[in-house]
C-alpha cells in the first residue's frame, strides 16, 4: 500500500468520525393498534370487502376500545357501526368511525385541559397531547370536512392556536378548552 493511499484512507476516516458522534437514528411515529385497525376497516370497506371489514371490527382493538369507553361515547355507537358493516353501507360506517375518533380526540383535549390547569403547564406535555389529538382527528378530518366544512376549519384554527400556545404554556389550558368545545359541537352535530 502506498503512502498516498494510506493518506487518503485516513482523511476519509477523520471526516467520518465527528459526524458519527451525533448519529442516533431518526424516529418515525408508528400507528397504534386502534389507528391500524381503523385503516384496515376503512380500506376493506372501500374495496367493498365488508365481510373482511366485519371480521376485522369484531376481532379488533377498535371495537374493544368502543366497549371500554361505552359510558362516554354516544349511545349505540358500537351497534350502529356493526349494523353499517352488516348492511354494507360505507357512508354509515364512515360516519360511525368519525364519531368515534372525534370523541377520542375530544376526551384527550378535556384531559389535557384538566392536567395543564392543575399542574404547571409545560410545552412538552402540551405538545404531546396535541400530537395525540391530531393523530386521531387527522384520520377523520376529510370526512368531517365533507359533511361540515366550517367545523373542519374551526378545528384547524383551534389546533393552530394551540400549537402557537405551546410556546406560551400559560395559554395552553384555554387552547385545549377551545379544541374540546369545537370537537364537542362537532360530535353533537354528527350524532343528531
Amino acid at each position: 500500500m502506498t503512502l498516498a493511499t494510506l493518506c487518503m484512507l485516513l482523511a476519509a476516516l477523520v471526516g467520518a468520525a465527528p459526524a458519527a458522534a451525533h448519529h442516533t437514528g431518526v424516529y418515525t411515529p408508528r400507528d397504534n393498534a386502534i389507528t391500524t385497525n381503523f385503516k384496515q376497516l376503512k380500506f376493506s370497506a372501500q374495496a367493498g370487502k365488508f365481510d373482511v371489514a366485519r371480521r376485522l371490527f369484531d376481532e379488533g382493538p377498535l371495537r374493544a376500545e368502543m366497549r371500554a369507553r361505552v359510558a362516554v361515547l354516544p349511545a349505540g355507537l358500537e351497534a350502529r357501526t356493526r349494523a353499517a358493516l352488516e348492511a354494507g353501507r360505507a357512508a354509515e360506517l364512515e360516519r360511525a368511525l368519525m364519531i368515534f375518533f372525534v370523541a377520542l380526540a375530544r376526551d384527550l383535549a378535556v384531559e389535557a385541559e384538566r392536567q395543564l390547569a392543575t399542574a404547571a403547564p409545560t410545552p412538552a406535555t402540551g405538545q404531546r397531547f396535541l400530537e395525540a389529538i391530531w393523530r386521531y382527528y387527522n384520520l377523520v378530518d376529510f370526512v368531517v370536512g365533507q359533511r361540515d366544512a366550517r367545523a373542519s376549519a374551526s378545528m384547524r384554527l383551534a389546533f393552530e392556536d394551540a400549537e402557537s400556545a405551546v410556546k406560551d404554556p400559560a395559554r395552553l389550558p384555554g387552547a385545549f378548552h377551545r379544541i374540546a368545545e369545537v370537537l364537542g359541537r362537532m360530535l353533537e352535530n354528527a350524532v343528531n
Binding site: L3, C7, L10, H23, P29, L108, A132, R135, Y136
Partner: protein, 177 residues
C-alpha cells in the same frame, strides 16, 4: 531520515488484545440483542414506567404510548450503534495502530499515537452502550447529553486527534521521500 520499513510492524500486543476484546464485545452484544430482544424491551419499558416524570408521562395511554415507543426505539438504536461501532472501531484500532507502529520513527510519538487510537477507539463505542443503559432511568435527551460530554466528545476527539497526527506523519514521509 531512515526510509520506511519494507514490512509492516505489529502494534503492541496489549492494543491488539483490547481491539479483539472490543470485537468480541460487539459480537456478543449483537447476538444478545437478537436472543434477548423481548426481555431487553420489557426491562426498558418497566424501568421507564418506574420513572414517569423523567419521560414526561402523563398517565394517558394515547399520549404515553408514543413517548415510550420513541424511548424504546432510542434504546434499541443505542444497542445497535454500539454493536456496529464496536465492530468497526476494533478494526480501525488494528489498522491505524499498525500504521503508527510502522511509520512513527520516535518511540514517544509511536506510544502517543497508539495510546490515543486505542483509548479513543475503545471508549467511543462504549458510549452508545452507556446511552442505552441510561435511557430508561434518565430519559433520552438527558442521557444523551451526559454521554456526549463524558464519552463521545473526549474519546471521539482522541481518535480524531490521533488520526490527524497520523495523517500529518504520512504526509511528511511522502514529502521527504
Amino acid at each position: 531520515m531512515t526510509p520506511p520499513p519494507a514490512t509492516w510492524r505489529l502494534p503492541p500486543r496489549a492494543t491488539l488484545l483490547v481491539a479483539v476484546v472490543l470485537l468480541v464485545a460487539a459480537e456478543v452484544g449483537g447476538a444478545s440483542m437478537a436472543r434477548f430482544k423481548v426481555e431487553l424491551a420489557r426491562w426498558a419499558r418497566g424501568e421507564m414506567l418506574r420513572h414517569p416524570g423523567v419521560h414526561g408521562l402523563v398517565g394517558v395511554r394515547d399520549v404515553d404510548e408514543r413517548v415510550l415507543d420513541e424511548a424504546l426505539f432510542r434504546f434499541d438504536a443505542g444497542l445497535r450503534l454500539f454493536h456496529m461501532h464496536a465492530e468497526g472501531m476494533a478494526l480501525v484500532i488494528i489498522a491505524t495502530t499498525t500504521v503508527a507502529a510502522t511509520l512513527a520513527e520516535t518511540a514517544g510519538l509511536r506510544r502517543m499515537l497508539t495510546l490515543l487510537l486505542t483509548v479513543g477507539g475503545v471508549g467511543y463505542p462504549l458510549g452508545y452502550l452507556l446511552w442505552s443503559v441510561l435511557i430508561p432511568a434518565w430519559g433520552v435527551e438527558r442521557s444523551k447529553s451526559l454521554v456526549e460530554w463524558t464519552v463521545w466528545v473526549p474519546f471521539g476527539s482522541a481518535t480524531i486527534v490521533a488520526l490527524l497526527g497520523l495523517l500529518a506523519l504520512i504526509s511528511i514521509r511522502m514529502v521527504r521521500r
